[in-house]
Symmetry: D2
Subunit: 454 residues, 4 copies
C-alpha cells in the first residue's frame, strides 16, 4: 500500500503535570498516521516550550527532553507530508507568538481554500515560513483574535473561513482548544483520566495513556479546557449531515480504535463478510495481506466457510532506512517485506484479501509470490471499492492518471495483476460496513463526489 494519512494530533490537560510524557505515549499510539516528523509543545506556568524534528516519535524524543518539557498542558503531532516535501520546517505543532501571547497548533486534514486564504494574508503583508495549512490557520486565528474577546472565540471565527478537513488542537498559555471541521472529515475524540482531559485523533491513543474514551467531537464542535473546566462551543455545528472519511475504517485507523462509535476492526471484518457475499469463489483457504487486509480476510472466511489461514508473514523491521533493491530486482522487493507460508498455500486455491488497489504493482508482486509458493489459484479481493478520484482532505490518494481503476476495467486489472479472479467491495456494501457509526461518510475517492466543492 502506498496511501498515507496526513497526520495525527494529540492534546492533554493534566494538573498533575508531565503532560509531554503523556503526549509522547499518545503519539506512539498514533504513529501509524504519520512517520515523517513529530513534535510536542508544552505549557509550564504559562510558558511555552517545544521540541520537534523529522523522524519517528521514538527517535525524536529522549527522556531528558520529555523531562524538560514537563507541562500541565501539551499538544503533540505526527506528520506525513502529502505536499511540500519532507522539510523540518513543516514539523508541528506550529508554535508562535501573536498579539495575545503564545499559541501552539497541531492540525490533521487538508484545506481546499488554502490558495485564497494565503493570498488574502499576503495582501495584508503576511509572510509564510512553512508550506503547511497550519500556518494559514494560525494567521486566521491571530487576525480574528484582534477583534475577539477570547482565544476560543477566535478559533471559532477563524475556522469559519476554512473549507476542508481539519481536526485541530490549539494551545494557548491557559487553554487547550480542540476543533473539528463542520463536515467531520477527520476523526477527533476526547477522554478523561482522573482530572486530566485528553484529545486524540483516534481512541487507541486514549487507551495508551490510560484515559477513558468519552466521545467523538461533533462536526463543527469546539471544546475548550481551561483550568480543568470543559466547555463546548457548538456555533459551527451545522446540524446537517456529516462526512467522515470512510477509508479510515478500511485502512488508516488502528484496528483497536473506535471511530464515531464503530470499531475499526469490526468494520473491516464486516467488509470481508460483504466481499464474500458479493464475490464468492470456490477455494481452499482465505488469507489476508498483512496488516490491513487481515481483518477483512477473517470476515471473508467466516462468511464463506472457507478456512482462514496465514499465508503471508510481514517483516516487522522494515522502516524508513530500508534500502530498496535496485531497478533490476524491484520485482523482488516484496520478498523482503512479505514471506509466503508455503504449507498454507501450496497446492491450494487461495483467496487473498487486501485493503485496496492503487496502482496494482504491489498486488501483482504478491500474486506472483503466492504462485511461486505453490498456490494453484489466487483470487484477489479488495475490501475497498476501486479508487477513481483523488482525495483533497488529508490523504495522498493520487490523481486519476495514477489510479489503475481510472484507466482499466476490473477484468483488465485482474489480468495485469495476474489473479484468477478479482473482486472489489461494492459502494453499497461499503456504506454498510460501519453500522454502529453515528455519522455520514465521505466516499469521494470511490465516487468522485465530494461533500464540498474542491
Amino acid at each position: 500500500m502506498s496511501i498515507h494519512e496526513e497526520c495525527g494530533v494529540f492534546g492533554v490537560y493534566d494538573p498533575a503535570g508531565d503532560c509531554a510524557r503523556t503526549a509522547y505515549y499518545g503519539l506512539y499510539a498514533l504513529q501509524h498516521r504519520g512517520q515523517e516528523a513529530c513534535g510536542i509543545a508544552a505549557i509550564n506556568d504559562r510558558e511555552l516550550s517545544f521540541h520537534k524534528d523529522l523522524g519517528l516519535v521514538g527517535d525524536v524524543f529522549s527522556s531528558s527532553i520529555l523531562d524538560e518539557l514537563g507541562g500541565t498542558m501539551a499538544v503533540g503531532h505526527v506528520r506525513y507530508a502529502t505536499t511540500g516535501g519532507v522539510r523540518r520546517e513543516n514539523a508541528q505543532p506550529l508554535t508562535l507568538k501573536y498579539v495575545k501571547g503564545t499559541l501552539a497548533l497541531a492540525h490533521n486534514g487538508n484545506l481546499v481554500n488554502t490558495p485564497k486564504l494565503r493570498t488574502d494574508f499576503e495582501y495584508r503583508g503576511g509572510i509564510f515560513q512553512t508550506t503547511t495549512d497550519s500556518e494559514i490557520i494560525a494567521y486566521a486565528i491571530a487576525q480574528e483574535r484582534l477583534h475577539c474577546p477570547s482565544a476560543e472565540e477566535a478559533v471559532a471565527r477563524a475556522t469559519r473561513h476554512l473549507h476542508g478537513a481539519f481536526s485541530l488542537i490549539v494551545m494557548s498559555a491557559r487553554k487547550l482548544i480542540a476543533a473539528r471541521d463542520p463536515w467531520g472529515f477527520r476523526p477527533l475524540c476526547m477522554g478523561r483520566r482522573g482530572d486530566a482531559v485528553v484529545f486524540a485523533s483516534e481512541s487507541c491513543a486514549l487507551g495508551a495513556v490510560g484515559a477513558k474514551f468519552e466521545r467523538e467531537l461533533d462536526p463543527g464542535e469546539i471544546v475548550v479546557v481551561e483550568e480543568g473546566e470543559v466547555r463546548s462551543l457548538r456555533d459551527n455545528c451545522k446540524g446537517a449531515s456529516s462526512h467522515m472519511c470512510i477509508f479510515e475504517y478500511i485502512y488508516f485507523a488502528r484496528p483497536d480504535s473506535v471511530l464515531c462509535g464503530q470499531s475499526v476492526h469490526d468494520a473491516r471484518r464486516l467488509a470481508g463478510r460483504f466481499l464474500a457475499k458479493e464475490h464468492p469463489v470456490e477455494a481452499d483457504v482465505v488469507i489476508g495481506v498483512p496488516d490491513s487486509g487481515l481483518d477483512a480476510a477473517m470476515g471473508y472466511a467466516e462468511e464463506s466457510g472457507i478456512p482462514y489461514g496465514v499465508g503471508l508473514v510481514k517483516n516487522r523491521y522494515i522502516g524508513r532506512t530500508f534500502i530498496t533493491p535496485g531497478q533490476q530486482s524491484r520485482e523482488q522487493a516484496v520478498r523482503i517485506k512479505l514471506g509466503p507460508l508455503k504449507s498454507c498455500v501450496e497446492g491450494r486455491r487461495v483467496v487473498m484479501v487486501d485493503d485496496s488497489i492503487v496502482r496494482g504493482t504491489t498486488s501483482r508482486q504478491i500474486v506472483n509470490l503466492l504462485r511461486e509458493a505453490g498456490a494453484k489459484e489466487v483470487h484477489m479481493r479488495s475490501s475497498a471499492p476501486p479508487f477513481i478520484a483523488p482525495c483533497y482532505f488529508g490523504t495522498d490518494i493520487p490523481d486519476k492518471e495514477k489510479l489503475i481503476a481510472c484507466n482499466y476495467s476490473p477484468e483488465e486489472i485482474r489480468a495485469m495483476i495476474g489473479a484468477d479472479s478479482l473482486g472489489f467491495l461494492s459502494l453499497d456494501a461499503l456504506h454498510q460496513i460501519a453500522p454502529d457509526a453515528a455519522c455520514g461518510f465521505c466516499d469521494g475517492c470511490f465516487t468522485g463526489k465530494y461533500p464540498i466543492d474542491v
Copy 2:
C-alpha cells in the same frame, strides 16, 4: 516476552557479485534473531572488507557501504547479547588474520566448555579482545590450521573441541564454510539462486533473497563452497540422535520459516490444537497475544470450535529507543504496547493464548488489560510448558530463581497473573507439535535435562 535468541547467521557465494547486498536482505529477514548489533564481511578478489556496529540492519548499513563492500562472497550476522553486555567490540562477523590469511566468522549458539578452551589458549599465550565464543572458535581454527592441509579441515578439527551449540559460517579468501554442531541445537540451512549458494539460520532468509531452499545442514555437517563447487564433510556427523531447540518452533523462529522440514507456523497452530485438547474451557472467543501467540490461538480455536478473534493489537513502532514509563506507571507500560479490542472481549469469556510464561509480570498486565476492556473471564493458555531450567545453548532463558514456574505451582501462578484458569502445553504434546521435523529435540529448559553435560 523477554526471552531472546542469541544470533542469526547468513552466508552467500555468488560469482555475480554484490553479495554484501544479498547479505543485507538476508539479515533483514533474520533481524528477529538479534537486534543489538549486526555486521557483514565480504570478499572481493580475495581481499576481506567488513562493516559492523551496534544497531539494527537498517541503521547500520547504507547503500554506499553496501556498494563498497560488494563481494563475490559475504557473511553476515545479527546479534543479541546473552552475556557480556552490549559492546561494539562483540559485533560480528569476527574478522582476523591468521597464518593462512584472512578469516571472517559468524556464530549462532553458545558453547559450554568456553572457560576451559579460553584457559587453554591463554596458557599458550593467547589474548582475547572480545567476550564472544566466536573468538575462541577462531583460535581453535587458527591452531588447527597449523597442522592441517585446508581451512575446512581446520574447521572440522577445531569444532571437535567445541561442546555446545554452534551454527557457524566461516569465510576465507576463497572458501565459504558452514558448520553445524553435532547435536544440531541451532538451525542452519542452505539454498541456491542460480549459481549462488546461500546459508542462513532460517529458511525465511533464503526466500527473502530469492533463493530456493535446498536442505537443512545435518548435525555435525560441514559444507564448503569453493569457486562454485559445493562439498560436504560429514566426519563430525555422529549419526546419533539430534537435539534441535524445540523452543525455536514456539517462539524464536519466524512463522514462515521451515526448520528441519517442519513449518514453524504449522507447529504453533498444532501446539494450539493440543492446548485445546489438554486444557479445554467453555468460552466465547479465543485470542492470541501478538505476535507469537497468534498462531497457537488459531489452532486452539479450530480444535475447540470457539470463534477466533482479534483481542489485542500490537503497536508496530515500539523499538529500542522506546522510553518505558517510570516506576509508578510501569503497570501501564503494556497499554502502549498492546491495545485491547473492546468489541471483541467485552462481556465475553476469553481464552488468551501466549507463547510462554517467564516471570509472569507481562501476563498479569495483559490479563488486567482484558478485564478492564470488559472481559468476563480470562483463561490463559501457554503454548509452551513451564520453564524450569535455564538454557545453555544460545538463548537467555534465565536462572531458576527468575523462572516463576520453578518457584510456584500452576495454581499459584494462575492466582498471581489473575486469570480464571491457566493451562500449559504438556511435555508430551510438545514433542508432537513438529511431526514433519526430521530431527530430535532439546527440551532442556522445560525438563532440566540437556543433551550434553553443562
Copy 3:
C-alpha cells in the same frame, strides 16, 4: 573572553553557479562571528532552496548538500545567539514566501525598537515563529512591498523603521540586496570575482573565496545586484557621522580583515603601542594572551623596546563539546586552554597583554598560571578601556552588574586579578587606533553614550 559577536552575513551572485559552495567558504571565513548555527539559501532558476541547522559550518554542510543547493545566487549566515537561547528555529537565513514570491534574509546586528515593531505587527494580526530581529525585518519588508514597485524599494522603506544595528542581505528570486544601517554599526563590504559580486561582514571572507575587495558599504546604503548589474540606493544615507563598533577592531574581527579601510591587525598593534606609552613598566618580556591579545602585545613590545615573547600556547582543539572541569577544579580550566611557556616567563618580569577585562575571572587565572610558571612579576595591560555599559547593537557585552569595571576601581581590579600592575587603554588612545578608518565610531560600551537612544 566571554564576549561574542552576534552574527556574520555573506551573499554572492555568480552567473557561473555553485554559489552555495562559495557561500560555504565565505561562512568558514566568518565562523569566528558566530558558532551556534549557520545556514545557506540559494536561488536556482528563481526557485529558493535552503539548508540550516545548529552547529559549525563544517558540521552542518556536506558536499552533497552544497551540490543540491547549487545556486546562481546565495545568502549565508553564521549565528551566535545573544538572546532567545540556542534554538534551531532561530537559525538563519530566514526564508519565507510573501506577496511577491520568496525571500531569504540574513541579518547581523541588533535593533533597539524591536518591541514596538513587533507589537505593531501583532496588532495587525502578525504571528512570530522565531525570536530573531530578522523576522521583524521580514515583516517590515513584506508590508512595504504591498505599496512599493520593487523589492529594493521595500527594503529601503522598511529599514527606515529600524532603529539599531543591521547589516542585512536580502535575496529574492531575482535580486541580491545588501543594506547597512544609517549609523554603520556593523561592517559590511562588497567585492568582485570576475562576473560575480560578493557581500560579506568582513573582507577576510572576500579573500577566502578569491574575490577582490571593492569597498565597504556606506552607512545607510543599499546595493542591489540584478542579473549582474549593480545599483546603489543612497536615500537612507544620512551623510552625517557614522558609528562603527570600535570593539570590532580590538576583538571581534579577524586580524586579516580590513574594516572601513583600516587593517584590524594594524589597529591592534597600534593599541599595543598606545598602551606602552600610557602604561609603561620595567619588564623583561611582553607576551599576549592568544589569540586576540597577541597583536597588541607585539605593538607594546615594539613601542617599549621590551622583547616580545611567546608566553602562552593555546590548545587549538577546544570546541563546543569540551567538558569543562567541575566546580572544585574550575580554577584549573585555564590550564587546559592555555599552556604557559616556562622558559619564556620563568624568573622574569612579564607584561601580559589581553584584549579586555569583563568579569576578571579569566585574567586572574592567567596571572596565576604565569606565576606558577615562575614569572617574577605580572603586569597586565588591556587593549580596550574598561567596559562600563552594555551593548545594544549586536554583541553580548552584559549588564552593568556583571561588568567588573562598573563596580570596582582599576586598583581594586588589579588586586582581584593578582597582577603587579594593571593598565587599560584610554578612551583618547582608543580613538586613535584606527587612523585609516574612514568612519566614526560607537564606543558605547566604554562610555555609556550611544549614537541613538536605547
Copy 4:
C-alpha cells in the same frame, strides 16, 4: 604541512579516582599528535572498562561516559593512522584478557620488525584482529607472561624483541607500566600531582592536568606504579647513545612542551636564528606560516634585525569535516586556510618561514598568495633541512618519490614554488637547535641514516 605524528599516549594513577577525566584533559593536550581516533581505558576495583572511537577527544567522550569510566588508573591514546586506513578497530588503547587477567595498552611509535613478529605469532596459532603494532606487542607480553613472575617483567622481556620506536603505557588490574624503547625515538615523560603519578607523550599534557613535570623516561627504562609506589626497571637501558626524533622539536610537539630538557619553542626560535645566519637576505619583514613556522620566524627576525610581522592569519575552524574545493580550484584551497595580511606584506620584501617542505605544493600556493597580496619579493626559509628519506619510526614522512628534495635541487625547488630565494636549515645547525636536550637524535629523514636497520 601534511606530515603527521602517529600517536600520543597518556597514563595516570590517582587513588582519588576520576582518572578517566584526568586522561580526557591529558588527551586534549595531546590532540595535535593524532586526530583520527582516541580512547580511554580505566580500572575500578581491578575491573577494566573502556571507551574508544574514531573522532576527536571532544567528540568521542561525554561527561556521562567519563563518569562511568571513573578509575583509580587510566590509560589514554590519540591516534593518527600512518598505515592500515582509518578503521575503528584500530582505535586504542587495545584492551584484552590474557592468562593473568586484563591489560590495556597504548602505543606511540612504529616497529620495524613487525612482519617477523607477526609471522612468529601466527605460526604459533595467533590471530590478529587489528593492523596495529600494539596487538603484536600485546602478544609478546602475553607470551612472556607465561614464564614471568610479574607483568612488568613480561613487559621488559617482551620489549626486548621489539625493534623500532615505542613509547608504551600498559595497565593491568593493579599496575600502570610505562616503557620507552632503548633508542628513545619517541618522547615519554612523567610527573606528579599530589599522590597521583602521570605519564604523557609530552610535558604539555602534565601541565594541562595540573601535574608537575618530574622527568623524561630514559631510553629503555620501564617505570611501574603499583599502589602509589613507583619503581624503575633499567635492564633494557643500553647506556649507549639515544636517538630522539629531532623533528619533534621542529614540527610535531607543542611549543609549550619541554622534551628531554629542551623547550620546543626555544628550539624553534633557535632554528630561526640559525636560518638567519645561514641564509641571510635583505628584506623588510619576516613572517611565519602559522602555526609551526611562527616561532622560527621570530628567531629569524631577532637574529637578522628585520622586523617580525604577522603576514598570514590561519582559519581556526577548519577541521576534519572541511570540504576541500574541487579540482579546478584546488589552487585556491590555501585561501580558505590562510588569510594574507595585506598591510603587512604589500610592497615589501618578505621572508616567509615555514617548518619544512615535503612536496612543495603548499609552499607554492602560499608564495602565490603573498604575491597576490602585494609582496614585492618572497624569500622562503625552511626551519628543517630537506627531507631525503622516509621515516620508519612513527611518522608518515613518505617515500622518496614523493619527497621533492629527493628529486630536485634547491634551486629547482625554489623555481617550482616561485620564491625569490630559498634556504633550508643545514644539518649542522639542526643539531644545535636543542642545546638543553640531554639526548642524542634520530635525523634519518634528513640523512637516510637510521639508528637501527630498517
